[in-house]
């Protein structure tokens, strides 16, 4: 397990470094002079030159990259243009809102998707299986922002069961939870479908495996065979899928935060793009990338914990 963990960790570091390189080249390739953009049309050439020197744009490209790279690793993502606050602080302030949103989205998809998938597999080809299949495809097909808007109209505007906007009163946990319901549903509902389909397929596969027949031949209760012997194997690809799915949920979170006017990283990056606040854009992208890589690392480690074959590198 130690070797496996180190291996995954090293891979994660490499991925983050590559992303930094890509981000850096993107900034470098964006046409226009960052100093001119930052200072606006009324600045003089001397002021622009001074800013270029200050933020290091006069250095050779590889020095610029090295500076970007090392300061990013130490948590210095530069300062944002409008308020001159450190980008890292601004992003970290918003991150908990987005994390709460995404983990609740994962919560929906796991809490509904896994039981539905199991149920469909156990009752294969029955009416229940077909209904689950249709629902899965439907929720996958509808884009999350459409779900967000309709959920908002139905539950918040028409029925007035749930609050429409914001993240709730700070310090009031229950209020924040209530404010999380609709946006997280919008983020997670498509994944209920993905997970249900994935779990169904891998359950069918593991239920047909030789060792399940062995378990049956020893007269083990069917519930134990399904929910212990088969599910523990069937859940593995789902965990990996969810790790990747977090990336897609991050982009759904952008829509959800805009529609529900919630604070969060998505809202932050949206506003930053509108105001051409480039340091904030790159900083946010970098932080969410690291988050994504960490979550995938976690998914890999969970799979390693559950599956001894993976740990020993088979």
């Amino acid at each position: 397990m130690l070797y496996y963990t180190l291996n995954r960790l090293a891979l994660a570091l490499v991925i983050v470094s590559v992303v930094m390189l890509l981000l850096f080249s993107m900034i470098y390739l964006i046409p226009g002079d960052p100093a001119a953009v930052a200072l606006g049309p009324r600045a003089t050439e001397a002021m622009r030159e001074a800013l270029r020197v200050k933020i290091g744009l006069d250095q050779p490209i590889w020095v610029q990259f090295w500076n970007f790279f090392t300061s990013a690793w130490t948590g210095d993502l530069g300062r944002e243009v409008l308020s001159d606050r450190p980008v890292a602080a601004v992003v970290l302030e918003q991150l908990p809102f987005t994390m709460a949103l995404i983990f609740s989205g994962v919560g929906w998809s796991v809490a509904l998707g896994i039981p539905l998938g199991c149920w469909a597999a156990v009752k294969r080809n029955s009416l229940a299986d077909h209904i689950v299949g249709v629902i899965s495809v439907a929720v996958i097909a509808v884009p999350s922002f459409v779900v967000a808007i309709y959920a908002l109209l139905l539950f918040a505007v028409t029925l007035r069961w749930l609050p429409a906007i914001g993240a709730g009163e700070s310090g009031n946990f229950f209020d924040q939870l209530v404010h999380l319901i609709l946006p997280s549903l919008a983020v997670g509902i498509g994944w209920v479908g993905y997970i249900a389909r994935m779990v169904r397929a891998s359950m069918l596969e593991s239920m047909g495996a030789q060792h399940v027949r062995t378990a049956r031949a020893f007269g083990l209760p069917e519930s134990r065979i399904v929910y212990q012997y088969a599910l523990k194997i069937a859940i593995l690809p789902t965990i990996t899928l969810l790790g990747v799915g977090i990336g897609q949920m991050l982009s759904s979170a952008v829509f959800a935060e805009i529609v529900f006017a919630r604070p969060g990283v998505g809202k932050l990056v949206y506003d930053a793009i509108l105001t051409r606040n480039y340091p904030l854009v790159t900083g946010t992208v970098l932080v969410t990338t690291v988050l994504f890589v960490l979550i995938n690392l976690l998914a890999d480690l969970i799979v390693g914990m559950l599956d001894p074959r993976v740990r020993s590198g088979l």
């Binding site: 030789q210 060792h211 062995t214 031949a217 007269g219 194997i233």
Partner: protein, 319 residues
């Protein structure tokens, strides 16, 4: 009374290309404390028979005729719970593929404790019993083995673990489906000796399935020869091996690799393939591959029994 008797069993699989008649009028008997060998080429329905006995036929399979009696009770009349109670302590099974027979994500110990779920022993006592049984099948360092996962064992070891699991049930009958096919020759001999010894210790009956005549001759008291889902010959091991009556049996014995005394470049095989089980001929099923085929073989063959030695053949040799 027999522990297990199968009477005139017919099993059919429905497939998209029509009904596949996998077993036709199979009759066999496993008497108390005897080892019965079931031989036949692969695809002749051996695994289908086991699954039917255990009530674990694939969803597209059905028994459309005949009965399976375990200790005198028709398994078709058992409730799901009674059937489950029979699997394990009544009939324990060792399956063909040792690689896939154990769950890859649970420790051996956990799996061996789980199958003792009916017992009132404590967890520690169950673990002790598991270790004891592993020692009896000569797994070195049994306590440590309980903490390991299936993929950490070789094929031969896994097969012995599977045998240990079956024996831990102290079953009335042990069914072994080609337990040695995936093993090399030395391991095969060791496994056969182990099974023989354990069968004597426990005093159970055994249905031993193989397509290897030599192994059957070594181990079994009685032999049933199956071809394309039909029993073509049955009798005691002496009768079947010394005086085979069916041409198919004679072919099997002639082609057994263990009987080749001189080195041959190519092992002899029976020419031809298994017939299509979707459209069985009216006459003898083996006729298309039989070198003794006559016109009469177009008619359904009689079941000819002499001294308990049965052969389903028009031309059955009399002894």
């Amino acid at each position: 009374m027999s522990v297990l008797s199968i009477e005139d069993l017919c099993v059919t699989y429905s497939t998209s290309t029509g009904d596949l008649r996998a077993l036709r009028n199979v009759t066999l008997d496993v008497p108390r404390e005897r080892i019965v060998g079931l031989v036949g080429e692969s695809g002749c329905g051996k695994s289908t028979l086991i699954n039917a006995i255990l009530g674990l036929l694939a969803a597209n399979g059905r028994i459309d005729h005949g009965r399976i009696l375990f200790q005198g009770r028709n398994i078709a009349e058992l409730s799901a719970d009674e059937l489950r109670a029979m699997r394990g302590p009544g009939i324990a099974t060792v399956f063909q593929d040792p690689m896939g027979a154990l769950n890859p994500v649970f420790r051996i110990g956990r799996q061996m404790i789980n199958i003792q779920y009916r017992s009132k022993l404590s967890r520690a006592e169950k673990a002790n019993r598991a270790a004891e049984t592993l020692r009896s099948v000569r797994i070195p360092d049994a306590e440590a083995a309980l903490k390991r996962y299936p993929h950490e064992f070789s094929g031969g070891m896994k097969q012995r673990i599977a045998i240990a699991m079956a024996l831990m049930m102290k079953p009335a009958i042990l069914i072994a489906d080609e337990p040695t096919t995936a093993l090399d020759a030395t391991l095969e001999v060791a496994t056969i000796e182990l099974l023989q010894e354990l069968q004597r210790d426990i005093g159970c009956s055994m249905l031993f399935i193989s397509h290897h005549m030599g192994v059957i001759a070594e181990l079994c008291d009685d032999v049933v020869v199956m071809y394309a889902g039909e029993v073509v010959e049955s009798g005691t091991t002496r009768q079947v091996f010394l005086q085979p009556r069916h041409p198919y049996t004679r072919n099997l014995i002639r082609c057994d690799p263990a009987r080749q005394h001189t080195r041959v470049r190519q092992l002899p095989t029976i020419p031809g393939d298994l017939p299509n089980l979707r459209s069985r001929p009216r006459g003898c099923i083996f006729a298309p591959r039989c070198e003794m085929r006559k016109e009469i073989c177009e008619e359904p063959p009689p079941q000819d029994v002499s001294n308990g030695h049965m052969a389903r053949c028009h031309l059955a040799v009399e002894h």
